[in-house]
């Protein structure tokens, strides 16, 4: 039991910190730290910098371009990146379809797609959810019919995050409609430029365009774009969902946001003293800080078990539940902290080219939108209710 980092770990952290300090563009980090809207360019620019360093896909095997880092090193890198205000690496390529291609793709698929993911040449999006298949993903209806060397795809996906930027999409499609509903599902890659694919924006409650509907109308997809075997898509999808553990608790980002919350509190005054000195408000911040401190250790305990070679397990669901509760609570307290100045709603103010003056303190402008936006985190990737079902079944055996 030693809760201090080893000398090697500390050296790695210093290296990561120095790299980030040197290479992370200030325009980008300022946007992140001030809750401004990031564009595709911002993400791609940072990912290319990481790629130059060979650090864009730490979770991949070395031979495919990974880093060979331990879980603790990955955690340290994330801490440093979050702290400095680096944007997250968009997950769909590096953390989602990438590992599936590595595990189940053909050598030709690997050779074609993996380098393009690493270099950010391809921006991927995820075609999982459908209007009738949210939590109950296996009841999806989008059909792919084999005709010779081609699949013809018809149907609709929804909640497709950042599809408006995407070059490629990986989809779960139904290739067989008899038997158990999990069994007729296949995992298909498509080019977003394929004729018959239409993207329609969904505007979310914060006024933002982050998710989309994607329609497939007789879309012809080469059969070579099938991952693995036909009908085994459910297995690959489950692999994907359980694969990505690091970062699921969002501890590093929440620590950064907690620091920001405290900064805001120290500037907001109430009857002559700062809000942080206000017992009522200060207690809420302190309680949240304690929860986050506990989650930080819980997260490290799971990481450490990972290193000890135990298989990834349903503890990830615990990290997700607690992590999202904390993220949401942070957005609530920030919004509360600024009082009446949470109300003004000027989405332009957190856009890229805003030159106007904020209403109230500048930090107040995006806080309500963030509170609204973060309602999603307890919904996507399996609602927190589904996560509790998983823990109940897999850990408690109920």
């Amino acid at each position: 039991m030693d809760l201090n980092y080893t000398a090697e770990e500390l050296a790695f952290r210093a290296e990561a910190r120095a790299f980030i300090r040197e290479r992370l563009p200030q325009e980008i980090s300022r946007k992140v730290l001030e809750h401004k809207r990031l564009g595709k360019d911002d993400y791609v620019r940072w990912q290319r910098i990481l790629h130059e360093q060979g650090w864009v896909a730490p979770g991949w095997p070395l031979e495919h371009g990974g880093t060979g880092w331990t879980p603790v090193q990955r955690h340290l890198f994330e801490e440093e990146a979050a702290e400095a205000g680096a944007p997250p690496v968009i997950a769909f390529g590096v953390s989602m379809v990438g590992p599936v291609i590595i595990a189940f793709g053909s050598p030709a698929q690997q050779a074609h797609y993996l380098p393009r993911i690493l270099s950010s040449e391809d921006w991927w999006c995820q075609g999982y959810s459908e209007p009738g298949a949210g939590s109950d993903l296996a009841s999806l209806k989008t059909r792919a019919e084999r005709r010779g060397d081609t699949y013809v795809v018809n149907g609709q996906k929804t909640w497709t995050t950042l599809a408006q930027f995407a070059d490629k999409i990986f989809c779960l499609v139904r290739t067989q409609s008899t038997g158990k509903k999990q069994e007729g599902i296949s995992f298909l890659l498509m080019d977003m430029n394929t004729p018959g694919i239409t993207v329609r924006p969904i505007i979310t409650l914060d006024g933002e365009h982050e998710v989309n509907e994607v329609f497939f109308d007789d879309v012809e997809v080469p059969a070579e774009n099938l991952i693995g075997e036909e009908g085994r898509g459910w297995t690959y999808a489950k692999f994907l969902l359980s694969h990505e553990r690091t970062g699921i608790a969002a501890v590093s980002r929440s620590k950064r946001e907690l620091r920001l919350l405290k900064q805001i509190c120290s500037q907001e005054r109430r009857r002559g003293h700062s809000l942080l000195e206000d017992t009522r408000f200060g207690d809420k911040v302190a309680r949240l800080e304690i929860d986050l401190l506990a989650l930080e250790i819980t997260n490290l305990r799971v990481l450490a078990a990972d290193r000890a070679g135990r298989p990834p397990g349903p503890e990830a669901s615990i990290l997700k539940i607690k992590g999202t509760e904390i993220q949401q609570a942070l957005t609530e307290l920030m919004m509360e902290a600024v009082g009446p100045y949470a109300l003004p709603f000027l989405p332009a103010a957190w856009g890229e080219h805003w030159l106007g003056e904020a209403v109230g303190p500048a930090y107040a402008a995006p806080l309500a939108a963030r509170y609204f936006n973060y309602r999603k985190v307890s919904i996507y990737g399996g609602t927190n209710e589904i996560q509790r079902n998983i823990v109940s079944q897999m850990i408690l055996g109920l």
């Binding site: 109950d136 929804t158 979310t204 409650l205 609530e332 009082g339 709603f345 927190n384 209710e385």
Partner: protein, 396 residues
């Protein structure tokens, strides 16, 4: 003890409901929401012809002389349909200040016009950095050559963008934070030195930052007793809080019903999601939160119409505190249960959610009213000072 509404009240509710059902669907509202002004002069006029603007105004000034319980019914209906018109700032706050503190002349000149819908008012309750405290007034008013000169800034003034007349609390003595020394002024937005910046709020309403730069105001523009405006302001703000609580009850009820309906119809894993016990119990807790809020919103409505200021404060802050907690719980859970659909702008769910979030903070957030309630046992209540009929003339 009688919890039933009178015949007249039920008729009022019916007529409001009928009008809104016919003329204020979610789609119609969306068009107003996306318009430049964010509301609709036609709807405003229609609400006036329904008698809603005149509802709180005494009969002698062309009003209906309605009670806070009548207002409860109207605001509840507004909550159900997410009314965008700035009714609260004008008909409740503005008219309320005149009714309870205006001179005979002011009442006679202004109240009938408010009742007809021809005059809109807004009240500048807060200042930058003052959070929700009505006594955090730093805007100064000094006398100069028989006039008042106002200097200062007001923040997040609801309904100011379309208001014909503002009420501006300013400090005529004492320091920021003092209870004594606050005087209320009627200020036309067109007065030289008044400038504003209008913006939308996240619930689709509008508010404004208002700056006052050497604004010269005639002496008869004082509402209430000079230096003693806080009690009046607080009384009328309490009426508005009671109205907001009623609106929240309407919002929550609509949201709750939509959620139960969704539970019954949304299919997942081979059946409606309403068969999941966790969601059933959550819907029950949403119901309990709504009913508890309704209880205190009713109590607040009754108490703001009563004589006892301590009872009024206590009931109003209790209602706002509990409603704030309920609004957050009901709003968040409605979104959560609706899943992805809950976070889009396409369904009304997220619109209710945002309005509830706004109500939670307007006129004092949950913490603010918790403290006020906790203190209500011990603290002195600033009196609403009845203005001697001729007092303001002496100042001229």
């Amino acid at each position: 003890m009688d919890f039933s509404f009178s015949e007249e009240q039920l008729m009022l509710r019916d007529s409001v409901d009928r009008f809104l059902e016919k003329n204020y669907s979610f789609e119609v509202r969306r068009a107003f929401l996306e318009s430049r002004q964010g509301s609709s002069p036609q709807i405003w006029a229609a609400l006036a012809s329904l008698g809603l603007m005149s509802l709180p105004i005494p009969a002698q000034y062309g009003g209906l002389g309605g009670t806070a319980v009548d207002l409860f019914l109207v605001m509840e209906a507004f909550g159900r349909c997410l009314m965008l018109e700035p009714y609260l700032p004008s008909a409740v706050l503005g008219a309320g200040l005149l009714i309870h503190g205006g001179t005979q002349e002011q009442r006679e000149a202004l109240l009938p016009r408010i009742a007809e819908g021809g005059l809109r008012m807004a009240v500048a309750l807060t200042e930058p950095g003052g959070r929700y405290d009505l006594n955090e007034v730093d805007t100064r008013a000094r006398q100069e050559g028989g006039e008042w000169v106002l200097q200062g800034a007001k923040s997040v003034v609801l309904g100011a963008a379309v208001a014909d007349l503002l009420v501006v609390p300013a400090r005529t003595s004492g320091e920021r934070g003092d209870a004594h020394g606050i005087t209320l002024f009627l200020v036309a937005p067109s007065t030289e030195g008044v400038s504003g910046r209008d913006y939308p709020t996240y619930d689709g309403m509008r508010a404004s930052e208002v700056a006052l730069e050497a604004v010269r105001i005639a002496p008869h523009s004082v509402v209430g007793v000079p230096d003693q405006g806080l009690g009046l302001l607080e009384h009328v703000a309490d009426c508005a809080v009671a109205a907001l609580c009623a609106e929240a009850v309407g919002c929550m009820d609509a949201l709750r019903h939509a959620t139960v309906e969704y539970l019954k119809t949304r299919q997942q894993f081979g059946g409606s999601i309403g068969r999941f016990q966790v969601l059933q119990h959550r819907a029950v807790d949403m119901l309990i939160a709504c009913e508890q809020s309704r209880s205190l919103a009713l109590l607040a409505a009754v108490r703001v119409g009563g004589e006892d200021a301590r009872e009024r404060r206590r009931a109003v802050s209790a209602a706002k505190e509990l409603t704030g907690r309920a609004a957050r719980f009901v709003g968040q859970q409605a979104v959560q249960i609706h899943g992805g659909m809950g976070v889009t702008q396409e369904l009304n769910i997220s619109h209710y959610f945002r309005r509830l979030a706004a109500i939670e903070s307007l006129l004092g957030d949950t913490d603010h009213h918790l403290e006020r309630f906790a203190r209500s046992a011990g603290e002195a209540v600033p009196a609403v000072v009845a203005r001697p009929a001729s007092r303001w003339r002496q100042l001229a």
